[in-house]
């Protein structure tokens, strides 16, 4: 199916914003690791801002960058959120509390533990009543979100913001589910071309095991392997190069997505 990409948002370790990192992603500059720099969004009311965890910050930062580039009103845009494990700090603290004799957990921790917490805070921040879904697909979470967002954009004829994010668990869960760093990526997909269209994406689900497109830079390849949301990097690299190319993104076992990118204009 074909959709048109209108905006990209990106925040990751040493990666701050789509435009500033294009040269790096295109392969012209060597990747320098750094922290994921993300601040609490001014868009949230003060109470919610205090309560919001890392996923909310990642989602708001990446989502707003992409929607601004697409010149779309966040209040009217449907969203697809995707993440392997939601708010990993929050669940750690909840599990700690539940392992004590008192078992007292805070109401805020509990409501932040739902996988759609980022979507909930997003809708409050943007005053958006449009449909929103929250998906989980372990390492294939970005691909699952991309497939769903594309089906929605192409099928329902609406613009959809895909927002994928992941961040590390503290120990001891980190040892059994290592996620390398905090990372957020957002894509605004539209059903038809506009003057903001960056590229046409032809997305196909293929029920066949094939090696995914790797990143040439070793540092970026380590991110791709180590963070579910960073499995989006090969697609971003093609977009950064601005050339017509096809990328293979791994999806659930025995399958992949084939994304043919055709730059607009």
């Amino acid at each position: 199916m074909r959709v048109y990409l209108e905006g990209v948002g990106l925040v990751g370790p040493g990666l701050s914003g789509w435009e500033p990192t294009r040269a790096l992603l295109a392969g012209n500059v060597r990747y320098q690791p750094g922290p994921t720099a993300v601040a609490a969004s001014e868009l949230l009311p003060a109470t919610e801002r205090r309560r919001a965890g890392m996923p909310v910050k990642l989602a708001l930062a990446a989502g707003h960058e992409a929607l601004a580039a697409a010149a779309r009103d966040a209040a009217k845009t449907a969203t697809v959120f995707s993440s392997s494990s939601g708010d990993c700090d929050n669940v750690h603290h909840m599990l700690e509390a539940l392992s004590t004799p008192e078992r007292q957990i805070s109401p805020t921790r509990f409501h932040n533990s739902v996988h759609n917490a980022a979507a909930g805070y997003w809708s409050i921040a943007t005053r958006c009543h449009a449909p929103s879904t929250s998906l989980a697909c372990r390492d294939a979470s970005f691909s699952a979100g991309l497939l769903e967002a594309a089906c929605q954009a192409a099928g329902d004829g609406v613009a959809v913001a895909l927002i994928a994010y992941d961040h590390p668990y503290p120990e001891p869960l980190h040892a059994v589910r290592p996620i390398r760093a905090a990372f957020g990526i957002a894509l605004v997909l539209a059903p038809s071309t506009t003057d903001r269209s960056i590229a046409a994406l032809d997305i196909a689900f293929v029920a066949q095991e094939t090696a995914p497109t790797p990143m040439a830079d070793h540092g970026l390849e380590a991110l791709r392997n180590g963070i579910p949301a960073a499995r989006s990097l090969p697609l971003l690299a093609v977009l950064a190069r601005g050339s017509p190319e096809t990328v293979v993104l791994d999806y659930v076992s025995g399958t992949h997505l084939r994304v043919a990118v055709a730059p607009c204009g």
Partner: protein, 397 residues
């Protein structure tokens, strides 16, 4: 939208295992709720527990997925001939042409709750026999179901709290419409765990007795566990004339609060209107509404307002959570299947445990089960984060 045929379904929760047991219980207005005796939990509340899960086990080749949630997932697949029906569809359509879209809110987190109690006192490490990937991870449920059913199509988990398994119908409908697959297994599972029992308790949302939806004395939810699945297929010349159908789905966001519904039911209204519009139906075309009806003060009041505004006060309606408890992520599929039972058997289930309807709530709320013609049902599911979903279900012919 193009209606989709619901060719098979299966269901299990504290009311019983299999659709006949659930139907009988609904007719008799029975409740599966009992005083909380889950694991070591000491809370003054009632739960809807599925017996025998502690002794159950998953298929030996799927041992890596063994946890309470996937045990109940397997129990559901083995009921009502569901796994066999999917196998027949797989033979006909091909394994890669059937998607698996599951919903759950807490997946197998109970395993991690237990593992945290047994961390190494010196290093803090989790026990060596703890398997995160097949249990706690949210995708574990869909991977388990997909592997069990030998399907190779698209898959993921929807996790939007208590609307999860209703919303999975929407994902399946979009995937089928886009041609990514020809059929889909939708539904999901949630099971009892410390996170939800203590979590809802901390929010002061758990009832001290069995929950009483729409009752003047309602004081909160009873948490239950359950599994349910439906096989969705394109309507074609193979489809029976009187086939059960998914006619419409509406989704919306409250944009109001993380754990409290919009007081006027704004998001609920948008979801219900969306579902009716997608179905090409008017409110008067709906014979019965299965409420989200959690029995919290705020949910029932907001839902009543929203339904009243769209439907007036004439449409018969009830919540079945007094019977099953609140199955959280599995509530959507459970109540969709109860709606299908209502259509197949011309039954409007009365509200178990509700004694006197709150006089502030004006909907046409059924205390007693009623035998009456039911052709189309609207089923509501609303979740934390303001995630709303309504389904319109019906029958052909």
């Amino acid at each position: 939208m193009q209606p989709l045929a619901i060719s098979h379904y299966s269901i299990v929760n504290s009311l019983g295992a299999g659709s006949q047991a659930i139907l009988d219980a609904l007719r008799e207005r029975r409740s599966g709720l009992t005083p909380c005796d889950f694991e070591t939990v000491v809370l003054d509340t009632y739960i809807g527990r599925v017996p025998g899960l502690e002794q159950a086990s998953v298929r030996p080749d799927l041992g890596a997925y063994d946890c309470r949630n996937n045990r109940l997932a397997q129990l559901g697949l083995e009921l009502d001939g569901f796994a066999g029906a999917v196998a027949a569809a797989r033979e006909r359509l091909g394994a890669a042409r059937i998607g698996v879209f599951m919903g759950t809110s807490t997946s197998g987190i109970f395993e991690t709750e237990l593992a945290f109690r047994h961390r190494d006192p010196r290093t803090g490490a989790l026990p060596g026999d703890f398997h995160y990937t097949g249990t706690h991870n949210t995708y574990s449920l869909a991977e388990f179901v997909r592997t069990y059913l030998e399907l190779t199509g698209p898959a993921f988990v929807v996790s939007s709290a208590c609307s999860s398994t209703a919303k999975a119908f929407g994902n399946a409908a979009r995937m089928i419409a886009a041609g990514v697959c020809d059929a889909a297994v939708v539904g999901g599972v949630d099971t009892l765990c410390l996170t939800t029992l203590h979590g809802f308790y901390s929010l002061e949302l758990t009832s001290r007795g069995p929950c009483r939806p729409f009752d003047v004395e309602r004081d909160g939810i009873s948490i239950g566990e359950g599994a349910g699945y439906a096989l969705l297929e394109r309507v074609d010349d193979r489809t029976a004339k009187d086939a059960l159908l998914l006619l419409g789905i509406g989704e919306s966001s409250d944009a109001y609060h993380m754990s409290t519904p919009h007081p006027e039911g704004l998001g609920a209204k948008l979801a219900m209107r969306g579902a009716l519009d997608r179905a090409g139906l008017a409110p008067a075309d709906i014979d019965y509404i299965n409420f989200h009806g959690t029995a919290t003060r705020t949910n029932d009041a907001a839902e009543d307002l929203a339904v009243r505004e769209l439907f007036g006060t004439g449409t018969p309606c009830s919540s079945t959570k007094g019977a099953t408890g609140h199955l959280l992520g599995a509530a959507g599929i459970t109540e969709a299947i109860i709606s299908l039972l209502a259509i197949e058997h011309d039954l409007m289930p009365g509200s178990a445990n509700t004694r006197a309807v709150d006089p502030e709530l004006k909907s046409h709320y059924l205390l007693e089960s009623r035998e009456a013609r039911v052709r189309r049902v609207l089923s509501n599911s609303f979740g934390f984060g303001g995630s709303n979903c309504s389904l319109v279900l019906g029958a052909g012919g």
